[in-house]
């Protein structure tokens, strides 16, 4: 019992209690099921706020929950959960987005509501575990476990091509993780421990082996992020996934990849990370430009948002591998920003899709006049996504660019300059989308909806409530990001200590 009352275990496993309750509710009582799931997710958000209250930004790994797990047969595997500045915001993002995503399914998911909610809450358990596990074996279990519920979410409640997308998502991601599995085993066997802090303290992995291990971990994380050229699963998964699935996929699951780089690649293999930084930067820049260019040419608005993720996460990777404080802090903040803005974009795309059952940009037009609230909110989110000053995206991208510009690891400001072009491209594709869908004469979809005896309606109260929390943070981070940076900064400084030796100041 004490085990479950420790804050980190409580927040991780609390959704399972919701799952148990859900299993007891009848499948026909859809609203009860929704309320139970939402209530669970909200309470869990509350728990995570309580954890935030206990959190000391200046401290090291904290709120530790450590138990011997497998200490026989030559294994040294612990149950080891802890939180620090690198993960606290991601934990909060997870618990924050989950209730929002659940709220968005209220009318969108009508079939097999019970199963949906069960998978959704199980997914939350997996994601939270990933961000807090400090033992590689435990981490791997959580990491692979998130695949299963997401696979079902796409496969059962997804769009017409969902089978293909679900299997592709699963196999693609698994291909990366199994290579990581071997690297994890190598570390465990040769270093005698799976605990990340112990491995960091021990160090001393020869440079050539470090590079191999770095590559194996990168395989898993780069697919998840996804970095160009390993991104091809993402558009399929996003387009086919139900809205709530897309929100979590973009908002949290992709961050598991970038977080993995941060926690494992940078901490465990500093020399290799330094050596690989320019290569990663090249891939990141290609990702930024390619993602933006491909976004522009999409006819499907959901696909446009999906490809914009490739571009945005390119920024995150660029900042992280700049290997200086600005770059990494910007990268972490940008992870959160992307979760908020892209999450909101997917939600809004889902809201209109629910009414019109099409996502083709060409059939829309003049929506701002017809649905003014929807239009105004969309404009804010779109501007946030393209990085307008005063909104959250700007703060993240600007800090990243500053970091990349002065990065000693890259050795040249060229990456920052090229990425800046990406910011302009983002403005182009986002505004293009907004112009086509929301300005100009009313699109033919308006007539079509009327033809079916409906009227395009503006957002209802539930939908506005779903979006409002996201908007609050979009403004908050945009106008006053200091509290967020304060949470991250000490941990980033500590993370950079080994690099000072490598880079030389």
């Amino acid at each position: 019992m004490n085990f479950l009352l420790e804050p980190l275990n409580l927040v991780t496993f609390f959704p399972l209690l919701g799952v148990l309750v859900l299993l007891l509710v009848k499948s026909e009582a859809k609203n009860t099921l929704r309320w139970v799931a939402l209530g669970t997710a909200l309470i869990n958000f509350g728990i995570s706020l309580w954890i935030l209250g206990k959190f000391d930004p200046a401290g090291d790994l904290q709120l530790v929950s450590q138990y011997d797990w497998i200490q026989v047969a030559g294994w040294n595997i612990k149950y080891y959960m802890a939180i620090d500045g690198l993960s606290i915001l991601l934990v909060l993002l997870t618990t924050f987005l989950t209730p929002i995503a659940i709220l968005s399914t209220w009318t969108a998911v009508e079939e097999r509501v019970k199963d949906f909610m069960v998978f959704f809450l199980m997914l939350e358990v997996g994601m939270l575990g990933v961000f807090m596990a400090q033992d590689l074996f435990l981490f791997y279990i959580f990491w692979e476990f998130t695949l299963v519920p997401m696979y079902f979410l796409i496969g059962i409640w997804g769009g017409p091509n969902r089978l293909y997308a679900a299997v592709k998502f699963f196999l693609y991601t698994m291909a990366g993780s199994i290579l990581m599995l071997l690297a994890i085993l190598w570390l465990g066997v040769n270093q005698g421990t799976f605990s990340v802090p112990d491995l960091v303290a021990k160090g001393g992995i020869p440079a050539d082996i470090q590079m191999w291990l770095f590559v194996a971990f990168t395989a898993a994380f780069a697919i998840k992020v996804p970095m160009w050229p390993l991104h091809s699963w993402l558009p399929d998964a996003h387009v086919e996934a139900p809205t709530a699935g897309s929100v979590i996929l973009a908002g949290v699951l992709l961050k598991m990849g970038t977080y993995g780089f941060l926690r494992f690649n940078l901490q465990l293999f500093p020399e290799a990370a330094y050596a690989a930084a320019p290569t990663i930067a090249v891939l990141a820049v290609i990702g930024i430009l390619y993602g933006a260019a491909v976004s522009y040419s999409q006819k499907d608005v959901k696909k446009l948002v999906a490809y914009s993720s490739v571009s945005h996460l390119g920024f995150v990777m660029l900042g992280m591998f700049a290997l200086n404080a600005q770059g990494i802090e910007g990268a972490i903040l940008q992870m959160i920003n992307h979760g908020l803005s892209t999450g909101a974009l997917f939600l809004m795309v889902g809201m209109i899709y629910e009414q019109t059952h099409t996502r083709e940009i060409a059939v829309y037009g003049g929506l701002w006049k017809i649905t003014p609230v929807y239009g105004s909110l969309m404009l804010i989110v779109a501007l946030s996504s393209m990085g307008l000053p005063g909104l959250n995206g700007f703060v993240g991208e600007f800090t990243i660019l500053l970091g990349a510009f002065g990065s000693k690891a890259f050795g040249s400001p060229i990456y920052a300059i090229l990425s800046a072009i990406g910011v302009i491209l983002a403005a182009i594709y986002i505004l293009y989308m907004f112009q086509k869908m929301f300005l100009g004469p009313a699109g033919k979809i308006v007539e079509e909806v009327k033809h079916h005896g409906h009227e395009l309606r503006d957002l209802n109260a539930r939908e506005i409530i779903t979006l409002l929390p996201l908007l609050v943070f979009i403004f908050w981070i945009g106008l006053y990001p200091a509290p967020f940076f304060n949470l991250i900064a000490p941990a980033v400084e500590k993370l950079l200590i080994p690099f000072q030796a490598v880079i030389g100041g």
Partner: protein, 481 residues
């Protein structure tokens, strides 16, 4: 015969005695009431299991060094008896539905399990051979048990012919080893090799022949050709028993014989085994992708799984890694037995008498209509793939560690890459069950439900709390008699 001698084979004796008793009982039992034989058989297995568990921690050698009771054989005895109990539970309803509910069935299973147990305990090649025959002959009969069906007959004949052929290899191998060392007893062979009086050429050829013979039993590529046909043709209850029990027994013999007798030949044999393991994983998994018949798919999957277990076997001569390698093999055997038996059990629930209900398409919609059964199948598929939260992941983790400690990294890479291939066809079952519409028909069979349920619970629970199982397998050592 001293008391120690008897004690060393006590569980086997009790099981055989029980089987003989049931054989007599079956003759005099009124027709139509023979199903009670099944209960007696289950009772016999449970009783023997109790005895086997009570023997835990003993390390003794009996019958002048012909039979050993040690951690290794003790662990396997329990595993084989578990296999026996599960087979009875699954066969009980299934055989009745298929019109093959005859009492001999249980008796044959009991004899076969006794052979498996003896196989793990044998420390004389003659006993190994005897055990192999005791294990195989009932299986030949069982494969053809559904005599009204041609496929079953064909399976029986095929299995018998190829099995006898493989036995020939083993006998010839034993003869050569005897020629090389003038003995069939493990202790004498080891001494002869140590003193340098053994003829190494003959010994190596003998060992290679044994590898072929046992390779046939465990369905190792390229000696796997019989597997899909026999698995498909035999009654499913028999197939489940073969896929789990007979395979495990083959591995038991391989592990004991090779790690006791042939560490000195490792330079020649280990690379061969490594290549065979790799081929088994590759061919088994890739061929399984193309199957649409569930029985054939699981058949090929069981070939692939043999490759993974074989992997643990590669560092058998490395003094420092051997203990890990053997424990990892045993650990994975448990994971495999649970998942494989469980999935065959699910197959039996869907199979209908006229031979329908066995294709992948028959599983469409199972997730909606029978959520519990579909959940069970999904867990087994995840476990066979090696994904959390199942025992299969922990087992594979252990196997890969053994290989890595044995410095055969390339084999571990082949292992993970073929796991990815396997994910494709295991996932396809999940896809069909959950993502496709259909109206599957299952047969309500309470006993089978319970058996499947316990496999699921064990697969998940042991993956979360694996420490006791780890402790047990790491003590399941082969003692050097």
């Amino acid at each position: 015969m001293t008391q120690i001698d008897l004690y060393s084979i006590l569980p086997i004796s009790v099981l055989v005695a029980f089987a003989c008793l049931l054989l007599l009982l079956e003759v005099f039992y009124p027709k139509g009431k023979q199903k009670e034989i099944g209960f007696f058989a289950a009772f016999g297995f449970a009783l023997t299991m109790g005895l086997a568990i009570s023997q835990l921690g003993n390390t003794i050698s009996g019958f002048g060094g012909m039979v050993a009771l040690d951690g290794f054989s003790n662990f396997l005895n329990v595993l084989f008896l578990l296999t026996g109990i599960l087979s009875v539970a699954f066969a009980y309803g299934y055989n009745k539905r298929m019109g093959i509910d005859r009492g001999e069935y249980y008796v044959l299973i009991m004899f076969s399990v006794a052979g498996m147990m003896l196989m793990g305990q044998a420390t004389d090649l003659i006993i190994t051979f005897l055990a192999l025959e005791l294990l195989s002959i009932p299986l030949y009969i069982l494969a053809a048990f559904s005599i009204q069906k041609e496929e079953s007959e064909e399976a029986g004949i095929k299995y018998f012919l190829l099995g006898s052929y493989a036995t020939g290899f083993i006998v010839f191998g034993i003869a050569l080893i005897f020629g090389a060392t003038t003995s069939t007893a493990f202790a004498a062979i080891i001494a002869s090799i140590a003193q340098g009086t053994a003829n190494l050429t003959l010994l190596t050829i003998g060992a290679a022949l044994l590898l072929i013979g046992f390779g046939f039993k465990v369905a190792m590529v390229p000696f796997h050709m019989w597997t899909p046909d026999v698995y498909q043709g035999s009654p499913t209850s028999v197939t489940a028993f073969m896929a789990a029990g007979a395979k495990a027994a083959g591995f038991a013999a391989l592990l004991r014989v090779f790690s006791s007798l042939f560490p000195s030949l490792a330079a020649d044999l280990a690379p061969v085994i490594a290549v065979l393991a790799a081929l088994t994983m590759i061919i088994g998994n890739i061929t399984a992708v193309a199957q649409t018949d569930m029985k054939r798919m699981l058949g090929y999957s069981s070939i692939a799984q043999a490759g993974y277990i074989l992997m643990a076997f590669v560092p058998f001569a490395d003094e420092a890694v051997r203990a890990t390698a053997i424990s990892a093999g045993l650990f994975y055997l448990v994971a495999y037995t649970l998942a494989s038996f469980g999935s065959w059990g699910v197959l039996m629930m869907l199979e209908r008498e006229e031979g329908k209900g066995l294709s992948l398409a028959d599983y469409a919609g199972l997730g909606k209509k029978y959520p519990l059964l579909a959940f069970a199948m999904a867990v087994f598929m995840l476990s066979l793939t090696g994904l959390p939260p199942t025992l299969g992941l922990v087992g594979k983790f252990y196997l890969f560690r053994a290989v890595m400690e044995g410095n055969v990294l390339w084999l571990a890479i082949v292992g993970v890459l073929t796991s990815l291939v396997s994910a494709f066809y295991y996932l396809r079952v999940i896809v069909t069950m959950y993502f496709k519409e259909g109206a599957p028909v299952i047969i309500q069979d309470r006993l089978a439900y319970w058996a499947i349920g316990s496999c699921v619970v064990a697969t998940v629970a042991l993956s979360l709390v694996p420490a006791p199982l780890f402790a047990w397998v790491s003590n399941a050592l082969i003692s050097p008699f």
